[in-house]
């Protein structure tokens, strides 16, 4: 919208700003240098009176671009969030007066700091426009759920219950998935409040799995369309406008549009053939926990018989962690989390129908967490299930029966036990498609060897589940051991493909109850993503952000850096290999902007210019002034708050630094670095989030990508005959209150040693 820019400045003199700074000089700078027609001062700008002052100007059409000087952009957000105007905030409180000691000898440098922040804020806001939604989406309430198991069915039912239509795609001919063979399930509840804490009586025991009933409810629900024997052959688009081709063995492929997607493809049972030491495959009397469930279902409460000869089982051994919690080749390194309670339940099957049956569970750590879990452990003990802390080494044939060799860890002896049947508590293998970056590795490989290695990896990769028509691969990126994101403790549903949420054992191993709870959360996020897309608003972490990236086509060299580096695979390429941004897939981190070598990508309110102008606005004293200038580009999520709180804690920061918050270090354009060096900055400190495998970057790869780019900046410096140590990148956490300022102070000291930049005018 091409409304005329009306610049308006507001200076708060409260919280000591008035006392510590020469405010009339600040006003002069804004008006003379910043060309702001007016700068209004107020003793308490965040007060209702102050806010009204600003709002009145806006309402009067006197202000479309606001420069608010006072406290940090993190403070008084509620007061200063005015609608439909562009706002920049000069951080004079946390950024200047709180960060500097109140002593005469510091007055001058402190004032200079404030002057510059005014200049920067004035410059920034001029290059901002008010973001408006692209109008690309309309509300599409359809939700696609992939996976017909308990997780998928739960996601479908819960989504429908909220009034949203669902398409449920199930690759089998019946619903129920991997848990449909359950005879009974582990109780969902702990003992009721009226159960006395006595001799462990009346504890909840194994209960009906409720899956048949769930299938009925799904089939009967008019908001749910079920596609059996179906697969996704192509999924394209973005939140609010996903398009999925659903291949069905019965009938033609149907194409449906969706607002968002839930992937609930559950898990595959671990292949016990990898456990010859336990005699699996050698005798039918060694079963997995999954196979035993079928046996029990078939017996349906009757005596459980030994597969080999039909003898009623009088003794059974359960081997926990079979092929799990082990670094052996072909074993699962993790704990599948559900097997302890599962084995207790199955041992109780035997006890229930034959009180004389010896049931022994060989475990290392018995993992039955929570209230229901611990109750169920005692329930199993009450049923006289024997728990032995032991490590099984082998299962061998012994006449008609079996012999389990194990080390009893309590009695500290190698021993053995005879039994009719052995059950291996095997684990869950997540049922996911190929890791997109395995695929990308092939395309991106620089050497032939690399390419080959990548091909090998891809060759063993499972078939795709989503078949995403994305530049960055067909499926959701994987985190570890084949499980999907999220890697964030606080944000469990974060995935790196916007609007596609993972639920259940595809995220981490879990039991049925957890999978069902997880499905509800994923459904919540899917609904939210569809609603946000309709507003043209970003989802986590920049929730509600209406800005989105656009590019100057004429300037674009089709280099593909943006499409390759986008941490969320949001950007596709059109037939001429120009980027297609799919803004509802975009998380607004700006990594594409930082990637672009020709600076053609920008957001309405965050661009190469909006930052570059701040950098240029800073007054650079001459070489002999002994007043170096340090530019700090700080991640707004962690480093910037850390600096704010350091100031709040009274920790001193060098007066020579000028801090510019960035959405993510990934958005940092190398041009900012070179331009600032050319314009005479003496040092540059970049502060981003942790980027290793335990990354803290809220945009997943942004910080890592930035570090990669900047690893090459050293060459640029040497070309300019500048010392490489003038530019440094640090990982800074939000808790680094003492460290963050120290890093800036150290840069100042270092400049003191190596001298000022020669590039001053």
């Amino acid at each position: 919208m091409a409304v005329e820019k009306k610049l308006a400045g507001y200076l708060c003199t409260g919280c000591g700003i008035g006392e510590r700074l020469d405010t009339s000089q600040l006003v002069n700078i804004a008006t003379r240098e910043g060309k702001f027609p007016s700068v209004k001062q107020h003793a308490m700008l965040c007060s209702p009176e102050g806010v009204k002052l600003i709002q009145d100007d806006i309402d009067a059409g006197e202000a479309t671009h606001l420069m608010i000087a006072g406290c940090s952009r993190r403070s008084k957000v509620e007061a200063f969030s005015f609608r439909n105007v562009a706002i920049s905030r000069a951080n004079l409180r946390e950024g200047v007066i709180w960060a500097r000691p109140d002593t005469p000898e510091n007055t001058e440098t402190t004032q200079e700091m404030a002057d510059d922040y005014i200049r920067m804020a004035c410059a920034e806001v001029k290059f901002m426009t008010v973001p408006t939604p692209s109008g690309e989406q309309e509300l599409n309430k359809n939700i696609l759920v992939v996976g017909g198991g308990v997780t998928g069915m739960t996601a479908a039912l819960e989504t429908a219950a909220a009034g949203y239509p669902v398409h449920l795609v199930c690759d089998e001919d019946v619903l129920g998935g991997v848990w449909k063979d359950l005879y009974k399930r582990v109780p969902f509840r702990a003992a009721a409040s009226d159960v006395p804490n006595g001799r462990d009586v009346d504890l909840p025991g194994p209960e009906d799995p409720g899956i048949a009933d769930m299938i009925e409810r799904v089939l009967a629900n008019e908001r749910i369309t079920v596609h059996l024997n179906a697969k996704l052959s192509k999924t394209s688009g973005a939140p609010g406008r996903f398009s999925a081709d659903i291949d069905r063995s019965s009938g033609p492929t149907v194409t449906e549009n969706f607002g968002a997607i839930v992937q609930a493809s559950d898990f595959k049972p671990y292949d016990a053939n990898r456990l010859p030491e336990f005699g699996y495959g050698k005798t039918p009397d060694v079963l997995t926990n999954f196979e035993l469930e079928r046996l029990a279902k078939a017996a349906n409460g009757g005596p459980l018989k030994r597969p080999s000869d039909g003898k009623v089982v009088e003794s059974v051994a359960f081997i926990q962690c079979a092929g799990q919690r082990s670094d052996k080749e072909g074993h699962l390194p993790y704990c599948s989390g559900f097997c302890c309670t599962e084995s207790i339940k199955q041992a109780m099957y035997f006890r229930e129908q034959n009180p004389d049956c010896d049931t022994t569970i060989l475990f290392d750590d018995l993992r039955t967490p929570g209230a229901a879990g611990e109750d169920f452990y005692r329930c199993g003990q009450q049923a006289m299930v024997t728990f032995t802390k032991g490590q099984a080494s082998a299962v061998v044939q012994n006449g008609k029966g079996l012999k389990v060799q194990f080390k009893d860890l309590i009695l500290n002896e190698d021993t053995e036990m005879d039994c009719d049947l052995v059950v291996l508590a095997t684990g869950q293998v997540p049922n996911n498609g190929p890791d997109p970056y395995a695929q990308l590795a092939v395309d991106e490989a620089e050497s032939e060897e690399e390419k080959e290695a990548a091909r090998q990896k891809l060759a063993v990769a499972p078939p795709s589940i989503l078949n995403l028509d994305y530049r960055q691969g067909t499926d959701l990126p994987q985190l570890k051991h084949g499980f999907l994101d999220s890697h964030f403790i606080c944000f469990p549903y974060e995935t790196r493909r916007t609007g596609i949420y993972a639920a259940g054992p595809v995220r981490r191993p879990m039991d049925m109850k957890q999978a069902m709870e997880d499905a509800v959360g994923a459904a919540m996020k899917a609904i939210q993503a569809a609603e946000s897309a309709a507003q043209g608003a970003a989802v986590h972490p920049r929730v509600g952000d209406l800005s989105y990236p656009s590019f100057r086509k004429e300037g674009c060299t089709q280099c593909k850096r943006c499409t390759v580096e986008c941490p969320f695979g949001a950007i596709n390429e059109d037939e001429q290999r120009y980027p297609v941004f799919n803004e509802s897939r975009c998380r607004r981190c700006g990594t594409c902007m930082g990637a672009c070598p020709v600076r053609v990508i920008s957001f309405e309110n965050y661009s190469i210019d909006s930052v570059n102008q701040q950098i240029k606005a800073v007054d650079i004293p001459d070489e002999f002034s002994e007043k170096p200038r340090i530019l700090c580009l700080a991640c707004e999520n962690d480093a910037y708050p850390a600096l704010d709180m350091a100031a709040q804690a009274g920790i001193e920061t060098t007066p020579f630094v000028r801090v510019v918050p960035v959405r993510c270090l990934g958005s940092v354009s190398l041009s900012w670095i070179t331009d600032s060096l050319n314009s005479g900055y003496d040092g540059i400190v970049l502060m981003g989030c942790r980027r290793d495998e335990d990354y803290q970057c809220h945009f997943v790869r942004g910080s890592a990508i930035a570090a990669e780019r900047l690893s090459k900046v050293g060459d640029t410096l040497t070309q300019l005959n500048l010392e490489p140590e003038r530019v440094v990148v640090h990982e800074v956490a939000i808790t680094d209150l003492a460290r963050a300022p120290r890093l800036l102070n150290e840069m100042a000291e270092m400049i003191g040693k190596i001298g000022m930049s020669p590039f001053k005018f």
């Binding site: 004389d356 006289m384 728990f387 032995t388 309590i410 009695l411």
Partner: protein, 208 residues
């Protein structure tokens, strides 16, 4: 009672936990142990045990029948109740230990010359005579429980104690003859005889 022992072996085969469950006082608690070891660490005589309670419970589950029943350990309990009040599963460990000891004795599996086993038996026999404990006789028996020779040594060793008790009128030589008793001795014996019969019957029912 060796035959009872064989009967029990017959009946329960290697299912020692079940045998304990059915025949040992409070034995039904053994299965609830989660092997945390708090009892073993709490026992004042712990360091003298070959097998502390929690280990005994594991041995029971592991079917180590003879090792448990013929173990000195089950006779190490001082009844201090530390284990009971600390057990996170509230197992009556003191009573289970007593129960195991008693059961071992019934099956005739007590190790030779187990002093506590002997003393505990003496104590019972002593009180059974007159319904009240005759400390003097009990003491004397105790001294001589390992034969005259031993007994004299112990007696001499404890002479000073005896004198001290005598002087403080806390030991009465006359107890050797007569001594305290319940008046209705006949009734007392009848009651206890009956109780023993019922007890034997209960065990026989399990043993059969």
């Amino acid at each position: 009672m060796g035959d009872l022992n064989t009967a029990m072996i017959e009946k329960y085969r290697n299912r020692f936990l079940k045998e304990v469950e059915a025949n040992v006082e409070e034995g039904e608690w053994v299965k609830m142990c989660m092997q945390c070891g708090v009892c073993s660490g709490s026992c004042p005589l712990g360091k003298f045990w070959e097998h502390p309670p929690q280990e005994i419970f594991m041995m029971i589950r592991a079917g180590k029948r003879d090792e448990v029943l013929s173990s000195e350990s089950v006779w190490m309990c001082t009844s201090c109740y530390n284990c009971i009040v600390r057990c996170p599963r509230e197992l009556p460990i003191t009573h289970i230990m007593h129960g195991l000891a008693h059961y071992a004795k019934r099956l005739g599996l007590v190790p030779k010359n187990q002093p506590t086993a002997k003393f505990a038996q003496m104590f019972w026999d002593n009180l059974m005579v007159k319904g009240r404990v005759n400390e003097l006789k009990l003491g004397l028996n105790l001294y001589f429980m390992n034969g005259i020779g031993d007994g004299v040594k112990v007696a001499l060793k404890n002479q000073k104690i005896g004198l001290g008790m005598l002087k403080s009128k806390r030991m009465n030589p006359l107890e050797a003859v007569g001594g305290h008793a319940v008046k209705d001795l006949k009734g007392f014996h009848a009651v206890l005889k009956k109780a023993q019969e019922l007890e034997d019957k209960r065990l026989a029912d399990h043993g059969a």
